[in-house]
């Protein structure tokens, strides 16, 4: 456990350093800081993966069964996805959102009880890691889309109210934020879809039924429909800007409830306790 908790703390620290670098890059508009931040995050994501691997072999299964593990996995997916998208699109401004969020997720993970939940044998399947990977990468993409949406609304507000100081100077242009919002949406939607489909297949192998209107399933479907509507609105009706930003923020609230609220507040297959008890 010693190596693992050391790796875990180190990863958290690296995410903090990257957060500072990205924020400095945004405030001072120095590209060099965000370039360094990218390398730091790459190191962090590798450390985190190692940490994940060690835990995998210690626990003897995919270690995403407790809140502690799940939050950390979310952080890892977030950074991984951010780095991948950053390679392809102009996304480095989102580092100032992704890195601090990953850091906070790691802190939240440390604060939640570090327990090892042995997965019920019924649930043991190769579909489990596939399901959670798609689901969390989708979550990560939507988190980034949410971040861009919030930044858009703030910047839009500054422009409309004609206050040209402070955060106005720091935030990027509306065009960039809207594009990032759309890019993340268009990446997140297929990931989430695959997450739901793989979950259904997994449910079938475990319980012989693809869909059983478990609260998680219901909420996930609702969230999926919201994102589908947003994507549709963007592609066909020409939704963009403020409207799309607000929509992506609301949809993310639903997603957050699907992710955390359902597990923590409602009963069903997906509560962390249920993984073991069922």
């Amino acid at each position: 456990m010693g190596t693992m908790s050391l790796l875990f703390s180190l990863t958290t620290l690296i995410y903090l350093v990257a957060s500072i670098l990205y924020i400095v890059a945004m405030v001072t508009k120095k590209q060099s800081a965000s370039r360094i931040g990218r390398w730091v995050l790459l190191v962090g994501v590798i450390f985190h993966a190692t940490c994940f691997g060690v835990r995998h072999s210690t626990v003897g299964g995919t270690p995403v069964t407790s809140l502690h593990e799940s939050l950390a996995f979310f952080a890892w997916c977030l950074i991984l996805l951010f780095l991948l998208l950053d390679l392809r699109f102009r996304l480095s401004v989102m580092g100032a959102f992704a890195a601090p969020l990953a850091f906070l997720l790691m802190v939240a993970s440390v604060l939640s009880p570090n327990v090892v939940v042995q997965l019920n044998p019924v649930l043991q399947s190769w579909l489990f890691p596939v399901h959670i990977t798609f689901a969390f990468l989708g979550n990560a993409a939507f988190a980034l889309s949410f971040g861009a949406g919030v930044m858009y609304l703030i910047q839009n507000r500054m422009l409309k109210s004609k206050s040209f100081t402070g955060i106005y100077q720091v935030l990027p242009s509306l065009d960039v934020l809207d594009k990032v919002n759309y890019t993340c949406l268009s990446v997140g939607f297929p990931l989430m879809t695959l997450g739901i489909i793989s979950g259904a297949f997994w449910a079938n192998t475990a319980w012989g039924t693809y869909w059983s209107w478990d609260p998680k399933e219901t909420w996930a479907l609702l969230t999926w429909i919201l994102y589908a509507a947003l994507l549709h609105g963007r592609l066909t009706i020409g939704w963009r800007g403020r409207k799309a930003a607000i929509f992506s923020i609301v949809a993310f609230m639903f997603l957050l409830f699907t992710y955390l609220g359902v597990n923590l507040l409602l009963d069903g297959y997906h509560t962390f306790e249920a993984f073991a008890l069922l």
Binding site: L159, K162, F164, T165, Y168, D175
Partner: protein, 430 residues
């Protein structure tokens, strides 16, 4: 050795005075040579811009130099010294070093952070080099000023934001569209400010310019200037769906564009954002349109607001720059001090050595019957006395160069021991 400045700037003199004192750039040789010929001045440089005229010199007697420089300025331009005097300032030592570094870094400019001043000082230095009026200290000093200006530019955001209304429009547009490439601008009417703004837009990537005017020939003329297209005023609204940026400045008494029309256009544009600047008074574009989601509408006052905000931002950056300058002033000061310490110490030792030799010779010649060994002992004793006496003062002099009062000690030592002026020993340095 001291850096001494006499001059005037936009802060102390109105333009009527400044234009009388300015030196034409084509005839710098005569004033530079005359300045260098003044008795208390050993190096000279003249900075002359539309906002300032300053003489930078190196002198051993600062107060005498100041008087001579004032007289020179008045005499050269045939002005009454009494009248000129009230606009002149003079600085020496640390204050002078700081002043030049601030001027070069554009902290003393009318518009803080404007980039021209550095080039103007470089030109002035070029003349001083050409006519050989800059020597060791000015050379080093000006190179220092250039590197400090560069440092200020790199380490602070002092020059990063627009401080003219027409450029502020471009900057604002960039916060909406990010890149202006492939955007289309429409000019309504022909105000000077609109034209200027349009120029900035074209220089920053805008590819297509449409011009409309009640008088079609004027629209055609302006369109030609931008390689654009003239549009008939009666149906320019039909073109609006293709336009991303509107610059309007007609003399029309009513709105040229109303909110209802703009709402329709938004829909035609699939809600792509549109950036409108209304410079006309009374206004051309219904302000209510600004409430529409995809319309970003600004008037002259708003742009003025951007400029004010940017100036404020520059003010903050200037505070950072002052810290950099403080640091650099101290560095240069200590270099300047070491410049004099070495020759002073050398002169001091030489003088002591002379006394010692003279006294030893006198004593030894009157003492006969000393063995070689005894003679040597006496000699080395005299050396030891000198070394011991000079050990502490030398140490203090070397240390003093790090502090502000370094030159005080040097002057004291030179006066107390009647040391020769180290000017003639300049060649020993470096």
């Amino acid at each position: 050795m001291n850096i001494v400045i006499v001059g005037l700037s936009h802060k102390t003199a109105p333009v009527e005075i400044r234009e009388k004192v300015a030196f034409p750039p084509t005839e710098m040789e005569a004033p530079l040579q005359q300045l260098l010929a003044l008795p208390s001045i050993s190096e000279a440089l003249i900075v002359s811009t539309c906002n300032r005229v300053e003489l930078y010199v190196i002198s051993r007697q600062s107060s005498a130099a100041v008087v001579e420089m004032r007289q020179f300025l008045a005499a050269f331009h045939g002005l009454d010294i009494e009248k000129l005097q009230e606009h002149l300032y003079d600085l020496e030592g640390t204050a002078a070093i700081q002043h030049v570094l601030r001027v070069a870094s554009s902290l003393d400019s009318m518009v803080i952070g404007e980039p021209q001043i550095l080039g103007q000082i470089k030109t002035a230095y070029g003349y001083a080099c050409e006519y050989k009026t800059a020597g060791l200290i000015l050379n080093r000093f000006l190179r220092k000023a250039f590197s400090v200006a560069k440092r200020v530019r790199n380490e602070t955001a002092i020059a990063s934001n627009a401080v003219s209304v027409s450029f502020a429009a471009v900057e604002l547009a960039r916060k909406i569209f990010d890149s202006l490439d492939n955007k289309t601008v429409l000019l309504i009417g022909a105000g000077e400010m609109c034209e200027l703004a349009a120029k900035h837009f074209v220089n920053n990537g805008v590819s297509k310019v449409l011009v409309t005017n009640r008088t079609f020939s004027r629209a055609e003329k302006l369109a030609e200037e931008f390689d654009g297209t003239a549009v008939n005023f009666d149906n320019f609204q039909e073109q609006l769906h293709r336009v991303d940026i509107v610059l309007s400045s007609t003399g029309a008494p009513d709105y040229v564009l109303n909110a209802k029309k703009l709402k329709e256009i938004c829909k035609d544009r699939r809600y792509k954002p549109m950036f409108l600047i209304d410079i006309a008074v009374p206004r051309d574009i219904d302000p209510a349109a600004g409430k529409l989601d995809c319309i970003y509408l600004y008037d002259v006052d708003d742009l003025q607001g951007v400029v004010q905000a940017n100036l404020k931002e520059r003010g903050k950056e200037a505070a950072k720059a002052e810290l950099i300058i403080k640091d650099e002033v101290a560095q240069f000061q200590s270099w300047l001090a070491t410049l004099e310490v070495k020759p002073t110490i050398v002169a001091l030792r030489q003088q002591f050595e002379q006394v010692r030799r003279a006294e030893i010779e006198r004593t030894l010649s009157s003492l006969s019957g000393l063995s070689d060994k005894e003679r040597k002992a006496v000699e080395s004793m005299s050396c030891a006395i000198i070394n011991k006496i000079l050990h502490h003062p030398t140490h203090v002099l070397k240390q003093a160069t790090n502090g502000d009062d370094g030159s005080l000690y040097l002057d004291a030592v030179r006066t107390l021991f009647a040391l020769p002026d180290p000017v003639e020993q300049d060649s020993d340095i470096e």
